[in-house]
């Protein structure tokens, strides 16, 4: 047993219930046969749910990078057997969120400086492409919605609401991806973004950097409304590069904290 107080051995014992699956399994009784919406019902399997929940636990920081994940503990926590959990861990391993070692179990993939320096350029390339495609495909309604999000984000900036700012920030980048109309691109970007989101680097953003980021977002909106793909590409890329600096400083602090 690991006695390091930093380790996350001993899971948060919130009874994160899986009961939700039952509702999604409910049979649909249709009011108006022939007029139904949404196509075939998407049934969820246990390992899919588990993948989502464990991913959320990792991304939200409930499971700390570097900590071991004993299968039994997670199984008890969720009240499921090992089979679906193991399937979920395989999936998360592909996403790069957990690392599997044969016969030695799984651990949450630690975030290293090298990781950041590898992932950010790739995200930059993907987001640049997203910007280019978005300019080609976005419609006026979407731009309006985006503008509203942007305005709200700016107001959060002025009121100093960091957390809310970040929430909207993510929505904006998601909306740009949606406008790019490329599911493959979206999936790839999301995977990498999840790996990075685990860093709780928000607190690390200086006032100057925050101001700069907000200004960059102003330019992003400008380029979008003008449908200037090239401009948007380069702004997004630069925006991400600046973000990387913040995250790198954060990770360096983390390393200093535990010598």
């Amino acid at each position: 047993m690991n006695h390091d107080p930093r380790s996350s051995e001993g899971l948060p014992d919130s009874e994160t219930c899986l009961e939700t699956q039952d509702s999604s399994r409910a049979t649909v009784s249709m009011a108006h046969p022939g007029t139904m919406q949404g196509g075939p019902i998407r049934r969820r399997t246990l390992h899919e749910d588990l993948t989502i929940m464990v991913r959320e636990m990792i991304v939200s920081g409930q499971l700390l990078p570097g900590s071991k994940i004993p299968e039994k503990e997670l199984c008890d926590h969720f009240g499921v057997s090992r089979t679906p959990l193991r399937e979920a861990l395989k999936v998360l391993a592909i996403d790069g969120l957990v690392t599997l070692e044969a016969n030695r179990g799984a651990r949450i993939t630690p975030i290293t400086r090298q990781d950041l320096e590898e992932v950010f350029p790739v995200m930059g390339a993907l987001e640049a492409l997203a910007g280019e495609l978005a300019c080609r495909n976005i419609n006026d309604a979407e731009i309006e919605a985006l503008q509203r999000l942007h305005d709200q984000m700016v107001s959060y900036y002025h009121s100093g609401s960091l957390k809310e700012y970040f929430a909207i920030n993510e929505q904006i980048h998601e909306a740009i991806l949606t406008a790019a109309r490329n599911a493959t691109l979206t999936a790839q970007y999301r995977t990498l973004a999840a790996r990075m989101r685990r860093g709780r680097y928000m607190a690390n953003m200086t006032a100057a950097r925050w101001k700069q980021a907000t200004s960059e977002h102003e330019q992003i909106m400008q380029a979008l409304s003008e449908r200037d793909g090239e401009a948007l590409s380069s702004i997004l890329k630069k925006h991400l590069e600046n973000k990387m600096v913040t995250v790198c400083e954060w990770i360096d602090e983390q390393c200093d904290d535990k010598p």
Copy 2:
């Protein structure tokens, strides 16, 4: 049961052996303690082997796009139980090579035109980045090796050896990725490349297109040796765009064949 003769029901019964894992499990008896090579033994698990083998079966075309994969059949073929196979299928589903439907099993993801139009831009962005990074990080020895590969490829072009040409072609693109020194980028690119490699579009390449591709490769080598990242980026991107045209024509033919 599917009676379509195109479907791959009934697997190729080559006893694709799994025995290889045994050799890697061998204990090391060292002749000179302290001078031993190779570090810790990398043990492989069954589901890892299965992932690799099934992926190869899909990419190589032994399992046709769109065909169903009954778990039992594959289990019998490999002589394993369902558990590790199912884990492997989950992994391949993330890679986009198979599609899983709850309670309905797995099928090989079909390649659609929309797929191509989605994936190629993403690959283009990734390869452009790879080119940029490669120019920054490649060393002289690697350039030399690459030049040798290139020369051999050109000779295959002149002798009309299409298959050999393509083999070297892949090696060249792999070498560029290696020179980029970015494992994340390499992994992402490989995943998408595997999805596309399933198309047996080689035969579809016209003489004109082949000539053009070879000329593009000439420019690639030029840009690399001059370490001109920007130039290499744009050539690689264009190279891939041209390739996409060939593949699109191939896929359209495929669609015409089965009305």
